[in-house]
Assembly symmetry: C2
Homo-oligomer: 738 residues x 2
């Protein structure tokens, strides 16, 4: 199958027009080659104006400081070692230095940088030919320098940029030695020996194709470029273009989630930039209706207001848009697709730019602002699956910049090997913190004494399990029985997503087939009432079954229990694990209660209080638990959670989550430690709709009605209960907001 | 007994000379009164130059913003309520606003501020006469506005400054009403009805005397001033001067510790300033060889490099030099005692100044610096007890500014009702964090649902207990059996303190009588070896007894266990409390091991690793525990600790604590997750001395010799063991550092 790149023609030209002069035009470098990342025109512009743009000047100074330190240190090319160990980190450092020193040479003309790149490549030219497959590779395509081929591809991507910068400066004999001893054998290893990985539609494949294509342009081997673009068979069944087709939904959402797209953005944008500079006729930035633009935006749009990515699926809790991969994508995306205030806001959080014309353009625009714009993405929904028909990810936002509140619900696909069993899971970010968090992965990444820095056994036994998330667990078992193949075969279903009003935003989704005979529907609303200081979350989680089940509603939190009206009994002299499987074996039972009436629970996180008020249901079990059981190697992080347990066939968990008050221990100030919402009552819940009344201090009384049938903006719904009739039009209605 | 204030004459004049022009001279205010905090000359200077000094301008603008908001809100004087509740907080807010609005009126001349002060005092003039003793007072001298008289004294101190500012502007009838309805009855309540508290040598007495003395100057009642200075009997057995004599050691160390001196600094400096401005002939700032200067410096010198006070004794973990009380003391101390770079550094952390000539002087000096100086106090020892003969507090520091390492050992007095049973306890601060922490108090301060914001039962049952600290527990019981009276009757003994070399610093102290028949000696060294990236702690804790005991050596930490060579067994399905009393009932036993050889344990805290390497001793028990047991109301904070347990009569715990490496999860970088120290061996330990060998990677080998006899800089020590003879002169010697 041959892939044809569509040409839409106008957009790229438009983007270029936004840039000053010839910054990114394909003007020849000194040598006559366009280069893959930085050309002569860009260098001239940088030399002329960089001082005037503080962000660029700072980024350049920081790079010089780093590389000047490297120049003062001996070159080291240690024998291959284990993941995260010294040799591993040294080789990573080496490729970053090849890249940055190369750019510095081009920008400054200072030959010390070129000599450093030459000497370091010379070391690899002696070293690489001595290597066989890495001895510590495990269940993965082996690299030679590193334990996995993926890291070797990282090396080649960075090194290609560094080599591109010095190639014309080197004598032909040296070039030939580097190409024969390092670059060509590395392509051989990645794209011939490793053909299977190379053709894989996966971020590993993206890195490999980018590496091979980029070095192809640099050394002038067009076969490498073709192989990279269209796969080892040159037919488009593998390769970079196929990855653009399949790895993203039509919205640009990346199926493995934000943590992994962060990583993949780099090869996508590095190689795209190399293609655009060398084969502009391919129109790579226009391909698939600007899928790279969508990929960039969908990545940064999933970020919390502070720039950290939500740690959904296997993900670190701290990966952020400040990662160098995202810096590259934001800068190149800004330059190629046109100016955008939210990208300027993202760059202000990143506080660095790449050292080429794209970084210069962004820094220039930021320098014109007295105050950098806030990164204030609004509410947004992403469809999931390559065709966009497999559920999605909903994000509701309220407020601006770092003060914004963000509510996320996950109702897409499993997400391949790094996916979690967490359909209808939600995360709440407020006041600069992940207040109702996702545990993320269980991994001490790159910390060698912690299982070599790899994924820990607790990643599968806890972090992936349903109970580790904020979604209902049925019969104390994980969704799809914890089987990845079964979970990959199904996906969440979008019910509706409506962010049309800043006062009432709502999203709703269904999950069927995750538990035999149990249908689930979750509707989350983000409400703004003038009487309350912060946006409030309303959660309606409906479970429908013909048979009775045990439904566990977990709420993970951080911080300290402040108050609850449940009369709990704490386990004070001994405590037991909450279960023996499906993640429950990792939870210590700290306290338990039973509640027949409305349940209220307040905790403190940072400088704000949060109160969950949950509608009454007979004999609701209340469990306070903490991670850390079943953890023989102290791998887990100790964190608390609440779990509401009901025995029922069909039921509705209706709850309000209210941020309130203020606490500063340093100032010894506490205000409004008790919330204003007093009660949540389910007035009706049937197949037509759910009707819930929320009441609070000062006469607050909201009536919330949500359709449980098919989505429709115009359908009239009528529900009767207790002699009252509730009517509304459309998917939902909220009355009583002020 | 009459207290005579000594006059040394020159110092105050010297201090004044350091100030520009007449800023703090006793020039008459417009009215002819000198005022108690801000005079006409200061106002003139502020109006002329404040704009040029950014810190002053910022502080003034922030005050205006706060008070402008208050002007736009209704005045509220609610009926007295519980501690930390709404009424409590409202009345606190009111006195802060009285104070700040008064100063703003004086500085700006804007009568809106004067009217606000008047209207608020008018409300109190109607309200205060209706009040009886506060109904919710418990075991404490009752206030009327607040539950305790202490808070009423706070109110009067602040209000005196506010009233001072507007008094001349008010018609005589209004003045008379305020004085008859509020100020005089309040003095009656604090200094006549509350005579016992007033005369008490304690921070409560300081607040009461300052309040009464300050309002005495304002309303021109010299009897109030005399009573405040010399006690209710005017004979110096109580009163402010007596407090200056007894509450501080000769070094200025405050016996209750930094958290409480922070609070006491305010009445000391407010009243001193009022005295100096009205009765300069008393020479209050020269009194007791400038004890107020020493009090200020000893307070800020105990702070961690980030400005937070070590939470020793009952203390919050976050109280810092940024507290308004310390801002006042730093500014006034700077103006009265002379310029000092460390105070400028402290002010830079505080980022605010008081709105009088002192604040202006400091802001002026800071404005001349391109970069504010770092607050870099060196190592320092404070003696404890009013005569300075009851042990002390040792602080060793290495490095500069916020990057400094700080090691603190506590070997003074119990510290009254807020004291903890923690003799020879140590705290380590490194890389901006409290790495080996003090738990502080168990209190959710001012959070009303948490026991009214008061001290929790767990404060006595856990936070005060020995095992909650980093000092050896004998036979699982708390020092002095946990009896305050017994603990007050004894104190630690200084052995030596030597910070003469930046490469080897050491402090040593003894504690006898805390456990029957067991003498304790702890020597802590802070070493700087050029081969190691950070300063390293060496800990030699020696216990001497004729009888065998169980010795528990606890090390509290935060963060995550990374590695240990102890083969521990974790409790994975159930866990038990570690004991039933003396704080052990609050510890969950997470894992246990037994070690005969050197014990190594590495944890991660923030971006740095820490490794404890402890010398081998036969059958050493290793326990990993976590706070949270015996906690029926979720009052405790969940934190881990390590406990080494030995059965012995006489023994030496010899350990090295080594910071190393780097971790950034966001950057996915880990370096040197394993430390370089390999072994610690006790070569000899007898009544003459202890000899320990520390060895590590790269041929590192230190020989550490410490005298166990009386302190002497010149004594020659000789210890024989295993056929070797070790000799050194003085209290200690370290060989092998590079």
């Amino acid at each position: 199958m041959a892939i044809m790149i569509r040409r839409t023609g106008t957009t790229a030209a438009l983007a270029l027009a936004l840039l000053s002069g010839t910054l990114l035009a394909q003007s020849p470098a000194t040598s006559g080659r366009p280069g893959i990342f930085l050309n002569a025109a860009e260098v001239a512009a940088i030399r002329e104006v960089a001082d005037r743009y503080p962000l660029f000047a700072r980024s350049l100074a920081a790079a010089r400081a780093r590389i000047d330190q490297a120049l003062a240190s001996p070159i080291e090319v240690p024998p291959p070692g284990e993941a995260g160990g010294y040799a591993h980190e040294r080789h990573k450092q080496n490729y970053r230095e090849l890249y940055e020193a190369g750019l510095l040479f081009t920008v400054t003309g200072d030959e010390r940088y070129a000599r450093f790149v030459r000497d370091l490549l010379e070391a690899y030219a002696g070293f690489y030919p001595t290597l066989g497959p890495h001895p510590l590779a495990q269940n993965q395509a082996a690299g030679k320098i590193f334990h996995q081929a993926l890291n070797d591809a990282n090396w080649l991507v960075y090194a290609a940029v560094g080599y591109d910068a010095v190639r014309d400066w080197l004598p032909p004999s040296t070039r030939a030695r580097f190409e024969q001893n390092v670059f060509r054998p590395m392509v051989e290893w990645l794209a011939v020996h490793g053909a299977r990985e190379f053709d894989r539609i996966h971020n590993h494949g993206t890195w490999a194709t980018a590496a091979v294509g980029m070095i192809g342009y640099v050394i002038g081997d067009q076969e490498y470029v073709q192989r990279a673009l269209y796969g080892t068979r040159h037919d488009g069944t593998g390769g970079f273009v196929r990855q653009l087709d399949l790895l993203f939904s039509p919205d640009g959402y990346y199926m493995e989630g934000p943590y992994y797209v962060r990583y993949a953005l780099m090869p996508f944008f590095f190689f795209a930039e190399a293609i655009e500079r060398n084969q502009p006729e391919l129109g790579i930035y226009r391909y698939r209706e600007q899928i790279l633009k969508k990929a960039l935006y969908s990545a940064v749009q999933t970020a919390f207001p502070n720039g950290v990515f939500p740690p959904i699926n296997d993900a670190s809790r701290t990966m952020a848009i400040t990662a160098p991969e995202v810096v590259l994508a934001v800068d190149v995306g800004y330059a190629r697709y046109g100016a955008d205030d939210n990208l300027l806001g993202a760059a202000a959080i990143q506080d660095q730019v790449v050292l080429n014309g794209a970084g210069l353009a962004l820094a220039r625009d930021l320098a014109t602002r007295a105050q950098p714009p806030a990164m204030s993405f609004g509410s947004v929904e992403f469809t999931d699956g390559f065709a966009g028909r497999r559920g999605g990810l909903g994000i509701l936002r309220s407020g601006q910049g770092q003060d914004a509140t963000m509510l996320l619900m996950k109702y897409g696909v499993h997400g391949q090997g790094h996916g979690h069993f967490d359909k209808l899971h939600f995360v709440l970010f407020d006041a600069g913190r992940e207040v109702v968090p996702d545990y993320g992965f269980s991994r001490w990444i790159n910390i060698e004494p912690k299982y070599g820095g790899r994924y820990l056994p607790e990643n599968a036994s806890y972090a992936m399990q349903t109970v580790a998330h904020n979604t209902v667990v049925v019969d104390r078992t994980t969704q799809s029985g914890g089987r990845e193949d079964a979970d990959e075969a199904i996906w969440g279903e979008r019910h509706f997503f409506d962010a049309g009003s800043s006062r009432v935003q709502a999203m709703s989704a269904r999950a069927r087939g995750y538990y035999a005979g149990v249908d689930m529907q979750r509707t989350l609303l983000l409400l703004r009432d003038g009487r309350l200081p912060y946006p409030v979350v309303v959660d309606l989680f409906r479970l429908v079954s013909a048979e009775p089940h045990t439904y566990d509603y977990p709420l993970h939190f951080r911080g300290q229990l402040i108050a609850t009206d449940a009369r709990y009994q704490a386990h004070t002299t001994s405590q037991e694990a909450l279960g023996s499987a499906h993640g429950y074996q990792h939870l210590w039972t700290e306290a338990a209660a039973s509640a027949d009436s409305t349940f209220r629970f307040t905790w403190l996180d940072g400088s704000r209080y949060y109160t969950l008020t949950s509608a009454a249901a007979p004999a609701t079990g209340v469990l306070f638990a903490r991670t850390g059981a079943g953890d023989p190697n102290f791998n887990l992080i100790s964190e608390p959670l609440l779990l509401l347990r009901r025995q029922a066939a069909t039921t509705l968990f209706a709850a309000v989550l209210e941020p309130h008050g203020f606490f500063s221990e340093a100032e010894e100030r506490s205000q409004e430690a008790r919330g204003r919402i007093r009660d949540v009552r389910v007035l009706a819940a049937d197949q037509e709709g759910s009707v819930v009344e929320v009441s609070g201090a000062g006469g607050l009384r909201w009536l919330i009605m949500v359709s449980n049938g098919p989505a429709s903006a115009t359908a009239l719904h009528r529900v009767r209960a207790d002699g009252r009739t509730f009517e509304w039009t459309g998917n939902f209605s909220v009355e009583g907001l002020q």
